[in-house]
Each structure stands twice: as structure tokens, then as C-alpha cells.
């Protein structure tokens, strides 16, 4: 029996897997875009990680949208619980975790023991999620790694009033047609996103001293800046932000 543990997070946009050793240290990670046959993909990703790390017989704990589809998973846990557990393992303190994923954004109030004290998620709408940026950024030909620079260099934010992914796209097209600068629009979009996230977190913001950011969108420096500016305090980006859920899964007692 291996002392290693495997956690897999089948998200709406990407699927993440990690192998942890007995002390909780990351041994290997994997990340792929989620495929329609989620169960097969999970099985293949796990098999590759096992081959790479020698984790034969290690327990597999599954989380995320597709969590019920993982063959041979020894346990299935929701991503809310896993994110709380994952962030606590990484940072070791209480706080409000904002996880901005592909199709949903979660606000999770983590207590001083790594448990979920409260949580909120966006419902039936991809506004305020990674999907919003995925749809709109190609319109601006703004590459992911240049966003922070564009955000910071914008002399002022162009107001983007809609946070609906569909309507914001047409709004951005009109703004471009009116000759607005791309940098200003990038800034306006991120400010609108930050506003949306703050509205989601609502009352939980009052109950926490620190805001932590995870999920694929946390790799976007412009989002980190926009959220920090909106909150009036810097935001902590969790190490391995995309893998927080998978880490939390691996740490769940099988």
C-alpha cells in the first residue's frame, strides 16, 4: 500500500489532479481541459500520474462537477469542502477564499480549523467567472499574460455596465467602435468582475480579515489587482491556485 494520495478535481473547464506524499507535499500535478467523457479522462490522468509517481494502490478522492464519474474513487466530496481543506493546508489560517473557476465563482468562509463556516456560489449565470473573460478577451486581442500590464497602464477604467457574458460582449464591441482604448476596456471589465465577486461574497467579507484567491482566474494578475483595489486591501493568491480543490480532495480521509 502506497503512502501517496491522489486528489482529482473534475471542473467545468479544466480537470486537475495531484499526488501528495504522506506529509502532504505535492509530488506531481496534472491539468487538462475537461473532455466530454469525464470519467475516461479522469481514469487516464490518474493512470499517468500513478505511472509517473509509483502511486499504485493510492486512494483516489474525487471532487468537482464530474466527481461522481471517477471509476474506483474511494470517496466523493464537494468542491466547497475540498477548497476549504486545500487552502487551509497551503496557508494554515482562516480567511475568505474566492475561487474563480471556469463556470462558477465560489466564496468560501474558512474557519480556523480548515472547515467551511459559510459559502455562496453564482447561480445559473456565468457572469463573474472565468468564462466571462474567455469569451471577451479574444475580442480585445488581449493575451492572458499581458493583462496585468494593460490593467495597470490604463489611464482610467472604461465603464462596462453589463456583467452578463453575452451582453458585455456586445457592449465591448460598441465601446471599441466608439474608439475607446483597449487598456481602458480591460480595466473596466476586471473592475466589473471584481464588483460581481464582492456582491457574491456579501456579508462574508465582514467576517474575515483576509481574502484569498484561487482557481484558474487567480493566474490573471489584472484580476488580483482589480479585486485588491475594490476591497482596499491586497488579496492573497493561494500557491498552485488551480489545484487547490484537488489538493483538498487528496487530503480528505479516504
Amino acid at each position: 500500500m502506497s503512502a501517496l494520495r491522489i486528489g482529482i478535481d473534475l471542473g467545468s473547464t479544466t480537470t486537475k489532479a495531484v499526488v501528495l506524499d504522506a506529509s502532504g507535499k505535492i509530488v506531481a500535478t496534472a491539468l487538462e481541459r475537461s473532455e466530454p467523457r469525464a470519467g475516461d479522462q479522469a481514469q487516464r490522468m490518474i493512470a499517468e500520474l500513478v505511472r509517473k509517481t509509483g502511486a499504485e494502490g493510492a486512494p483516489v478522492i474525487a471532487t468537482g462537477y464530474g466527481r461522481k464519474l471517477v471509476p474506483g474513487a474511494s470517496k466523493v466530496v464537494t468542491e466547497i469542502t475540498c477548497h476549504a481543506r486545500g487552502v487551509f493546508a497551503q496557508l494554515g489560517r482562516a480567511g475568505l477564499l474566492i475561487d474563480m473557476g471556469g463556470q462558477d465563482t465560489k466564496a468560501i468562509l474558512v474557519d480556523g480549523t480548515g472547515r467551511v463556516a459559510d459559502f455562496a456560489m453564482n447561480d445559473k449565470c456565468a457572469a463573474g467567472t472565468g468564462r466571462f473573460l474567455e469569451v471577451i478577451l479574444p475580442r480585445l486581442q488581449a493575451p492572458w499574460d499581458k493583462l496585468r500590464g494593460m490593467y495597470q497602464s490604463a489611464p482610467e477604467a472604461v465603464q462596462v455596465s453589463s456583467t452578463c457574458t453575452v451582453f458585455a460582449e456586445s457592449e465591448v464591441i460598441s465601446l471599441l467602435a466608439n474608439g475607446q482604448a483597449v487598456e481602458g476596456i480591460v480595466r473596466g471589465l476586471h473592475d466589473a468582475l471584481a464588483e460581481r465577486v464582492v456582491a457574491l461574497a456579501g456579508r462574508m467579507l465582514e467576517m474575515s480579515k483576509e481574502v484569498m484567491l484561487s482557481g484558474g482566474v487567480a493566474n490573471n494578475g489584472a484580476m488580483v489587482d482589480a479585486l485588491g483595489a475594490r476591497l482596499g486591501a491586497p488579496v492573497t493568491v493561494v500557491p498552485e491556485p488551480s489545484h487547490v480543490g484537488a489538493i483538498g480532495a487528496a487530503l480528505t480521509p479516504p
Binding site: V77, F119, D123, K124
Partner: protein, 436 residues
Amino acid sequence: MSLIRRLQYEAADRLAGPMLGRYGRLRALARRSRGKRRAGPPQLQSTRKLKELLTTHYLAGRYADGAVPVAWVTSGFPVEILRPFGFHVVYPENHAALCAVQRQGVQLAQVAEQWGVPRDTCAYARCDIGSTLAQMTPVGRIPRPDVLLACTNICQTVVYWYRTLASLLNVPLFVIDTPYQYGEPDAHAERFVARQIEEAIALCARISGVERDDGALGLVAREAKQASELWGECLAYAKRKPAPWSGFDQFIHIGPIVTLRGLPECTAYYRMLRDELSERARLGIAVVENEKHRLVWDNLPVWFELREMSQLLAREGFNIVVTTYTNGWAETAPMFDEHDPIGSAARVYSRVFINRGMGHRTALLRSLAKEWGCDGVLLHSNRSCKPYSVGQLDLASQLTRDGLRTLVLDGDHLDSRSYSKEQAEGRLSAFMESFA
């Protein structure tokens, strides 16, 4: 009113309905003898009587128009005043809930939408208007009303909904307006409501051709008070740990107290249910095996998901033991006074919790959580019922500060298109995990 029609109505009410109910009972027995047992918690024996009562009610309804005066009423209307005049009473809300449970509600709502009712309107209203337009119902036939009676204590939507029905059916509409009570009950507003009830009684006398009889009104008030008190006793059995029945059971067994209140068969039914629950409690029968956590439910149920949701919770040892909705019929009705049937009805119907301010609603949820020994609250944010859902985020903050775990769950009481099953089950699972 024709004599033949009256005979058909009486035959359906006294013979055919109960016989059909018994036939259902026989079929259930046959299923059991063939060894087919339903999964999940044990079913209450009273459920069979419940089916018989509701079958009879809807079967008799098919023959009611032309036999007896017929009224369509809202769930918050003082129905007691109709009883002495011999009305057959139809509850469009109850009918819509029945359509929802049978998963036919959306189809009927779509008829109304195509006709022009926006999707933001309450789905009960859409289902009912659709059912009226298409003359479709899973119960065979709904009798045509002689009068429509609405009371604004549950929402303002009923006014527009019933006006639409009045124009479609070309029948009179009478609305009792119960001013919203922001703080303490308002005696002036309640006198205003009492005067309207007097007017409604005069109208019912005119339609039915039966003279007003204050003695009979008093007797009905007594009957309604008794039934509501029995309903309250039934709900209180869920205070036992573990609870002998759940909020999901209560949603099903609420039928008679809503639709048959004031009639002796309603009182008899709840006496039977109370006795069965008392026996269950005595034997220590639990509806949820290994009951670990107890929850309050706020708002109407997601009718079309009752079973799935109850099983999801029960698998993890969670039980909804009390709901603001089912408690509504035990909260104010015990104030009925047979010596002052009209004044007391004004109080009973004005003080319905959904007609009262946030202060009262917060206090109510707190006391239900405490009395029923709950450690969490599920607030169903019901897209169809805005007056019930507005304020739930504030309620949740208040209750969280009291140390209760809360979850605001998006859903709808009828329209499955406004309910995302995967999302809801994910949220419920995460909520349950947070208790660990």
C-alpha cells in the same frame, strides 16, 4: 341548480370517492403481498386516508357546478365563511401543487406563457391560467366557479391572477385586502378586514340563496380551530428526537388543513394522524435512520423534487423537522373564536406570517429552530414566490449570527425550468459536509 346534477355530486362525494380511495388501498395491499415494497422511510398509514379524502374532493368537484355553488379561492382566504352556504371550494394553488408533484405543471404553465403571461409570474398562477385556458387537469375536471375569492395576505399576485380568471371565465371576483403588518398587529387594519369579511358573507348568501346563519358560522370557526390545533399537535411530534415524521411528510399531509378546513372530515383526519404520530413516538420510530442533524425549511417546497431531496438528506442523516410553510396553518388559526367568528377570522388571516414584517419572520424562524432542536436552516429562494423569498439573505445573516448553519437554495415550487438539479444537489451536499 339541477336535481340530477346534485345527485351526481352527492354520489361522487359519498360513494364513488371513498370507494376509489379504498380501491387504491386494496391495490397497495396487493402490491405488498406480491412483495413489492417501496424504498425509503416507512409510509404513514394515514396517507391512505389522505388519498381517499383528496380523491373524493376532486371527484365530487367534477360534478359540483350546477349542483352546488362553487367558489375558487386563494389559500389565505377565510374559507370558513363559505361552509354554511354549502359551497364546493376549489383551491387553484393546491391543484397547481398537485400538477407539480405529477410533473405536469410546466406543460400547463407553458400554455399561459404562449397566451402572454410572462415567465416571471408565479408558476402557480401560470399553471392555473394555463389549465383554465386549455381545460386540462390531471384530476379530470375542475368545476366552473360562480365566484372567485382572493385574499391579499399571501401576495399581491393573487389580485392580478384572479382578475385574469374573472375575465376568462366571466364570473365575479371579490378581493379581501389585508394591509401588510410591518410591526405589531394593527387593530384598525383588522377592523377593516372584518368589514370586508362581512361583505363577502353577504355576497355568498346572495350567490347561494341561503340565509346567513351566525350560529353555523360559529360552529365552523370551532371546527377550523380544532383542526388547526390538531395540525399543530401533529407538527409538534417532530420535536421528538429522532423525529417520527419529517417536513417532507408535512408538505404532503398539509392538503386537508388547506382545502377542507372547517369541515368535520378535516378534523377527523388530523385526529387520526395525531394518534398515529403519537404511537410512532411511543414506539420510537424514526423517519430518518440515524438522524444526526435537524433542519428548518423556509418557503414552499420544490414540489416536483420532494422525494429526491428527502432521500438526499436522509442518506446523510439529515432531517427537515419543521417548516415555516406547514407551520403557517397552525400559527394563527388557533385564534379562531366561535363566539366572534368574523372578528377572529380577521385576526387569523391578517396575521399570517407572510403578511408580517421581517421582525416577526426572524423571530418566528428563531423560535422554530429552537423549539424543534435544529442546527441548520434551509431557505428555499423560490423564484415563483417573491414575497416569501425577499429578505432571506438578511434572515440567513441573522440566523448565522445565532450559530445556525444556513443555506439559501435557488429553486421554484413548480417550474422545473427554474431549478438546476445538479447545482442544488451540489449545494446541499456541500452544506451537509460543512456539519462534519
